[in-house]
């Protein structure tokens, strides 16, 4: 059986790793390439890079970074942030990324998912969804969590899978940065309703949060950022902890 995946996530701005809390105040967390290599050595199963650069050189800087990462990394990695066309996705994938994550652009133009899946295969296309629980519903937000849309989480996730997404990366904005655990109920529902892999994001604070999300929500992978960047949770210890609870994880030397 395949193992549950542990995925460190690196938010990138102007070529540096940064980390915000609840989508706000941003801190510097180091060189993405150095961090990525460290995570691979520690046994990370996959990496996600989300580029939040907002300058004209964004595309160029990101392509350079992807090429550098691909030279050094021998584990799969996903790149997201500003991918809005087949052409931008092509540049990322052609330079050695394994998957692209689309978020706002897919909300505005859902057919983009179909175009991307037709061009590269559904297995390369991750639909990233940021959502927040308000007035009794999970609402989808875009633009880095700044803009509430008309879309509801579960409907959008189902539609995304139907249109061509090969994986869903769901971030609960209510949980992100709190370190109080993942959005178990919403993740469980996503995992039950969809037949593509689900990646949990937002809320990881310690090893038992990962155990909970795998055992209670059944998701395929769990993603976290700051707790890995600042050494609060080490990947080898996390994996041993999960293994001791009979959760199937990949143990490396």
């Amino acid at each position: 059986m395949i193992t549950k995946r542990i995925i460190p996530c690196l938010d990138i701005r102007d070529g540096r790793t940064v980390k915000g809390t609840n989508f706000k105040s941003i801190r510097d967390a180091g060189d993405p390439l150095d961090l990525a290599i460290k995570y691979e050595k520690e046994g990370a199963d996959e990496l996600v890079f989300l580029d939040i650069t907002a300058t004209e050189r964004k595309a160029e800087l990101l392509t350079e970074l992807v090429a550098k990462l691909s030279k050094e990394l021998s584990i799969p990695f996903t790149v997201g942030g500003g991918i809005h066309s087949v052409e931008t996705a092509y540049n990322i994938l052609q330079n050695g990324a394994d998957k692209v994550a689309v978020n706002s652009a897919a909300v505005h133009t859902p057919a983009l998912l179909t175009e991307l899946a037709a061009a590269f295969g559904a297995q390369c296309i991750v639909l990233a969804i940021d959502a927040k629980f308000e007035e009794g519903e999970w609402w989808v937000f875009t633009h880095g969590g700044k803009k509430r849309t008309e879309k509801k989480l579960f409907e959008w996730a189902r539609e995304g899978a139907r249109l061509g997404a090969g994986e869903i990366l769901f971030t609960s904005m209510d949980h992100d940065g709190t370190k109080n655990g993942f959005a178990i109920d919403a993740l469980k529902q996503l995992n039950t309703e969809l037949s593509i892999p689900i990646v949990a994001s937002g809320g990881a604070g310690n090893a038992s949060h990962f155990a909970d999300v795998f055992q209670q929500a059944g998701v395929d992978a769990a993603l976290a950022a700051s707790i890995f960047h600042y050494g609060e949770v080490s990947i080898p210890n996390l994996k041993l902890n999960l293994k001791n609870q009979d959760i199937n994880v990949r143990i490396t030397e």
């Binding site: 059986m1 395949i2 193992t3 199963d45 021998s74 584990i75 799969p76 050695g96 297995q123 490396t252």
Partner: protein, 193 residues
């Protein structure tokens, strides 16, 4: 010298980078007159089977691959293309290995299969120094059932082929270029054949 068959497959760059990391000599080409100089060939593959077969046809590479006598390694879709037929787009493939590629249909299992899996490796030169607890990275929706040519098996609801060999043709369903140390070992084993 390894020749990488260039036909626009999605993982070509990753395979080049993986060969760089183990300091292997290689070149990449879409021309048979260049590729025939290689000691070994790699057929990469990420994408749709039908598109991939069409490209190989258009570039005049199908007969060249079929008549190749030195070692060749198909990776992921590249392995599936060595077979007779795939349910992906109901595509006729190269027909070198007389097996048929099927879609995962178990309702309990997510498709695409995406993640790290162990294999049960047979005693084969491609699987040398690979242990039963070495993990490989798999991403696929179609699989090759086990057959007399399987040299490693993986489990995803069913047992299926993780690696295959028929004569000089080798194939792996997983991505050695993305499978950390165990993946590098596979590439080194192929180079040593």
């Amino acid at each position: 010298m390894i020749g990488i068959i260039n036909y626009g497959a999605g993982n070509t760059k990753s395979i080049m980078n993986a060969l760089d990391r183990i300091e292997a000599d290689y070149f990449i080409s879409d021309l048979t007159k260049e590729l025939e100089k290689a000691d070994k060939l790699i057929l990469p593959g990420v994408g749709h089977a039908k598109t991939a077969m069409n490209r190989l046809e258009e570039q005049g590479l199908t007969d060249f691959i079929r008549s190749w006598k030195k070692p060749l390694l198909g990776v992921c879709l590249g392995m599936q293309l060595l077979c007779e037929f795939t349910e992906e787009g109901n595509t006729r493939c190269l027909g070198i290995i007389e097996d048929r590629v099927k879609k995962f249909t178990d309702k309990e299992m997510k498709v695409p299969k995406m993640g790290w899996n162990i294999t049960s490796p047979a005693d084969n030169e491609l699987m040398r120094n690979i242990k039963a607890d070495d993990y490989f990275y798999f991403v696929h929706s179609y699989y090759l059932p086990t057959s007399e040519y399987s040299i490693a098996q993986a489990n995803y609801g069913i047992e299926y082929t993780a690696a295959i060999q028929k004569d000089n043709f080798y194939g792996v369903q997983f991505h050695p270029e993305k499978s950390a140390k165990a993946g590098s070992q596979i590439l080194q084993n192929f180079i040593a054949i």
